[in-house]
Every structure is written in structure tokens, then in C-alpha cells.
Amino acid sequence: MTAIKNRVTSEGFKHYLKSLKFSLYTMRRPLDGFWDLIHEKRGSMAAAHTIVVLYVLVQIIYLTQTNFTFINIQMETFSSFYVVLNIVGPLLLFSLANWCLTTLFDGKGRISDIYMGYAYAMVPQLIIRIIITPLTHIVTFDEIMILVLLWYIGEYWFYLLIICAMKQIHDYTFGKAVITTLLSLAAMGIMVFIFLMFFAVVSDGIAYFYSLGQEALFRIRRG
């Protein structure tokens, strides 16, 4: 018990809580917030991980618990794994792609900084989803515009935060931040393409050698 108490009151944990709470500040004051996040060390990787995990949980609840009027998923085909993939995949890919790109264009951010910035930028979407999910059980199909409005607010807020985060993390001008963000989206596409191609080639290769082995065995057995 005392151990936990020590932990809870320890400096590290206090910083973690503070950095988690700081996500609400970056949401409201993105330019100031994302500068302090990296350069004043007011954010932490632990908090970023927490936000990602929370986002995954909220997304699963959002997809499954929303009233069927608005999101209707056949539960037999629902898989939480794909939800995780849909969230963590873009996050990691973007971090990598953006880092690869910005190191060439003298960006200041490290890969962990980009990860942190992306994670902190997801907070408004997370909050909007928490609001929307119970709201869908109160509004009818004809009042869908309320939800659509909220949803789009969350979406565009996220885009804005990403641009701000990239600007402050890499110490760019606004235009450069927009351009590098768009370029890293393209880079993500290329990475996915290469990844898929690599897998297709490898699986074809394996299948080829496997069938070769089968053939050999077959002939040996037949004598």
C-alpha cells in the first residue's frame, strides 16, 4: 500500500498526471501548447500512450454502443483488432513518414516528438466521441445534423491541431508545416504500397519454394 502511495505521490507520477492534463491545454491553445509540449518538456510519452489507449477504447465503445440508427455494424463481423489497427497504424506510419521527411527539411522534431504531437492532437476527437455516443440515444434520425456537426468539429479540430503541432515541433513556418504534412500523407501511401508489395512477393516466394518441396517429396515417395 505504501509502495503505491509512494508511487502516486512520486515526482514522476506527478509529472505524468500534469502532462496528461496538459493535453487539454494544447487543445485550446495549440500554438503555445505544442511549443511547450516539446521544448518545455511539459508533455510525456506516457501521457501520449495513455491517450492512444484511451482513444482505442473510446473508439470501440463508440462503434459498438452508438444507437443503430447512426452506426450500424453487424456484430458478427466486428473485430476490435481492426479498430486498433485503424488507429495505431496511421499513428505509427505518420510518425515514421513525417520524421523521414522532416529530417531532410531541417525539422527539429524527433520521432517520439511527432508521436507525442499526433497523440495530443487526437484529444478533441476523443472528447467529441465521448459526447456523441450517449447523445445518439437521445436524438432521432431526423436530428442527425446535430451529430454530424459535432463530428465534423472534432474532425477539423484534429486537422488544425496536427498542422499546429507540426509547425511548433519542427519550428517551421505555417506553409511549410502544411506542405510537409501533406507530403508525409503521400509518403504513408507509398509505405503502405511497398509494404503490401513486399508481403505479396514474400508470400509468393514462400509458396513457390513450398510447392517445389512438395513436388520433390511427391516424386521421392513415388520412387
Binding site: F68, T69, F70, N72, Q74, I138, T140, F141, D142
Partner: protein, 530 residues
Amino acid sequence: MVKKFLCAFLVAVIFIGSFPVMEISATGPTNYTYTYNEWNNPIPSPDAYRVSAYILGQHLYYNGESIGQWRSPQDLHVWQGYVDNIWRNLLYVVDSGNNRIVILEFYGENNSEYSVFNIIDHVIMPDGEPSRFNAPHGIYISDWAFNRGQIWLADTNNQRVLHVDENWNVLTEIRHPGNYRRCPDSDGVVFIFDPGEGPSLLDANSDFLPSKVAVDFSGRIFVQTRHVNRGLMEFDRYGVFAGYMGAPPVDVSIIDQFWRFIATQEQRERMILNVPVEYNNVTIDHEGFLFVTTSSVGVEPVARLNAMGEDVMIRNGFEDPIGDLWIGIGADRSGPSEFIDVTTLSNGTFITFDRNRGRLFAYDTQGQLLYVWAGPGNREGFFTSPTAVESMGHTLFALDGGRGDNLSALTRFDLTEYGTLINDALDMYHRGLYEESYDIWNEVLRMNGNFGLAYIGIARALLRQGDYLQAMHYFRLQNDSRNYGRAFGFYRRIWMEQHFWMFALGLGILMVVPPVVKKVRKVRREIMES
């Protein structure tokens, strides 16, 4: 000892009980009926229609002789009315390969007896000469008051549409609109119009191959012509070409518009406005709307056109009426359904015939799929090359125009108990008698728990009765968001009214408590300070 016996007994009971009671339900032949559920998965369904007669030409006799096999028959038309002062139910079969029209008469209980009423292979021209048919493909017999019983025949290879009276005397002969047309006036004089009068949109050098024909209540004649991809050809009641109708509006994409913008005038003229639609059939329903089917890409496969040629079909089903939703490749068939014909019932249900897989699709007035049955094959109730479907009351006739011995057949389908129930319920439901249809829908559900429309019917009845929570439950089962929203809206209002005290109390507390707290604090501070 007793324990042992008890144990043995129990084991025996469990053992015997674990075998399902073998109950062989004698359902007889099935037509592989299915429907699509709310997730668009195909679900088996009881038969709504079953084969009640399989009519081959060689089994029919006229004047003591067999009339011989059908040879790729192409069209059907049902006409019910008085002939020789007797009410007759006549079915006209256009026996295209034999260049004849076979008229079957149905009589007796449930119209289950039939015999050949007449065989027509020529018409009498206005000058008294007989004129034989050459591969006729379509027929229409008017049921409208002012020209009841008159017949229009698409005599395809003779390149003409014939308008004949009840005794097969030609009244008008519609020829290639680019060439000439003639018609007798009241004195019996034949007019010959100059070529080129009226809009001559059909190239004079191309063949005029009328294939299907329909006539509306004002006497306008709609001809589906082969190799014409601008919709239906419309003629006025005297056979004068009036133009094309029914082609869907052209959706010009932004890219096309861009090219058009930068093109020169000459180039622009050479560009073709392309939304080719070649209808393959035309029918008129009981309200005078045209039903057309097509297998053209990018066009609704079945459409209901108003007098202006605009598509007014209601498409409120889970999916639009496009036929099969699962179009996997199997049995040498692939691709989407290709509708070849459509027929309507008096309650607004329409039935389309899929040429690709030989299936019949029944849709209600809202465009909601009811059931699908039949399939490809050359046995009773299956089709090799479907050509036409027609309804006589609730009885259906489907025509197979397969080439080859015994492949052409006329199949008669009659409603089963299940189909009758659905039709009864739909009749009431579409007249707005939701409460009355409640019991019938329940009966339908008893026979087929997968029939989605029944749940919606029940939910509507419940909604009407004010049982909102239960209505919501039934709408939920069918993923019917819009109607669920309506039921929920009512439920929410009542809930709010019943729980208004909670809101009032909450508001009251919010309004009363802070000032009181403030006051108390102030008083306390004053006491402390003093």
C-alpha cells in the same frame, strides 16, 4: 437398486430425447425461393409461387390437331373481357419462330383449365389482302375504354407495327418513321404521308425493328425498337412518329464538361451525348405508368416512367430493385441480373424476370424485395432463356424462349398460402390499414420468421396503436432507422412529459441552491468576523 433403475431410466430418456423427432414435411417440389434480409444476405424462404402448369406446344390441340412445339416464343399478353358475349380470360402467346399468335383461353375453377382459343398467323390489310407475320416479337391488347380489345403487334422482321381491330383487320400500319406511314380515316381512305414529315430522328437507312409495344390511355403508342438507344419510340394514336421518350437525363461529369469547355465548336459538334439506354421491354401498369426494363450499364434496370418519360419509381427498400445482390460466378453465369420483362399486379407489386439467371423477383410498391424464385435450368419451373412474364390476376405466366426441342415452354405459377398471405397483407398495408394487417403479418411471420417486411408491418401497426416501445423493437430488428426515429420521437416526448418533474426539480435546485449557499456563507462569515 431403485437408484440404479432411475439412473438407467434417466439415461434412456436423455438418449431418446437427444434424437430429433423425425418429421418429414411433405413440401413437394420447391422453386428455391429466397429473399435478402436486412444485412443483404440471401435467406431461404417458403415458396410464394409454385408451378401449377407446364404448357408445351405439342400438348395443345386446335381443331383436333396438335399445334406443335413453341419456337422461341417472345411475348405474352393477358386480356380479360367479353368475346362473343362470354367473359374470357385470354392469354396471347407470340410464337415468334412459328410466325403466329396462339391465343389460349383459361376457364373453370381458378382458371385451371385451358385450351387453344385461336391461332392467328396473318392479318387482313385495308385493301382486303392477307398479310403474314414475320417473327413478331411483341403484342399489346388495349384494356382502355375507348379502344378496348384493339391489338398492337410488333411484326419485327416485316419492320412494322400493326394496329388491328378485334377481328385482325389492320387499322394502321406503322412503318419506318423515316419512310412512310399510312392510315385509313373514317371513310376508309388510305393516306400516304410524305417521307420526312414530323421529326425524323431514326436514320432512314437503318432498319426499323420494333420489338415490344405498349399503348397508354390516351392512345399514344410506345415502341421498343432494337438497336435504338435513345429510349422508346413514341407514336401518336394515328401512327405518326412523335419522338423519343424515356431516356434518362444525361449526367455530364466535370471532366466531360472541362473537355467540352476547351473544345472548339467543331469538336463539340462531333462529341456524342452518350447515355445510351436500350430498353428491352415496355409494359403499362394499372395506373397508366410505363414500366421499362433494360440491361444497359449505368441505368436503373427497371423503371416506372410517367407520361413525360421521367422515372417515378419509388425506391424505399433496403436496396434498389436491381435483382440479385450477390452476383457470384456460378453455373456459367456471372454479372448482375438482366431484366427482360416486368409485370405488375393489381396491388402494385411488380415482378421482374431476370434473363441472366432465369429468376423472378417480386417487389412491392415501395421497391422492397418480397421474394425471388426459379432459376436457370430446363426442368419444370426453371428457365433456359427467359423472354416474358405476365399476370392474370395473381396468377403468373412465364415464358421460356429457349431454342431447341422442348426448351420453349410456358410455365404457369400460382400463389401458395404463404404468397397469398403476403399479398393480402400488402393490399391492406398499402391502403394504410396497418392495424388490420397486423394479424396477417403475424401469420406470415409464423410461416417465415425471416420475412423482413412483416416486422416493419407489425411495427407500423404498433406505432399506429401507440405502443412505441414495442414498435421501436420491431423497427430495430429490421434496421429501419427512419421509422425507428419516428417511433422514438413519440416515445421520447411521452417520456419527457412523464418525467417532467425531474427536469423541473433539477432546474429548481439549480436556481435555489446557489443563492441559499451564498447567503449561508455570507451569514457565517459575518458571524465569524463579528
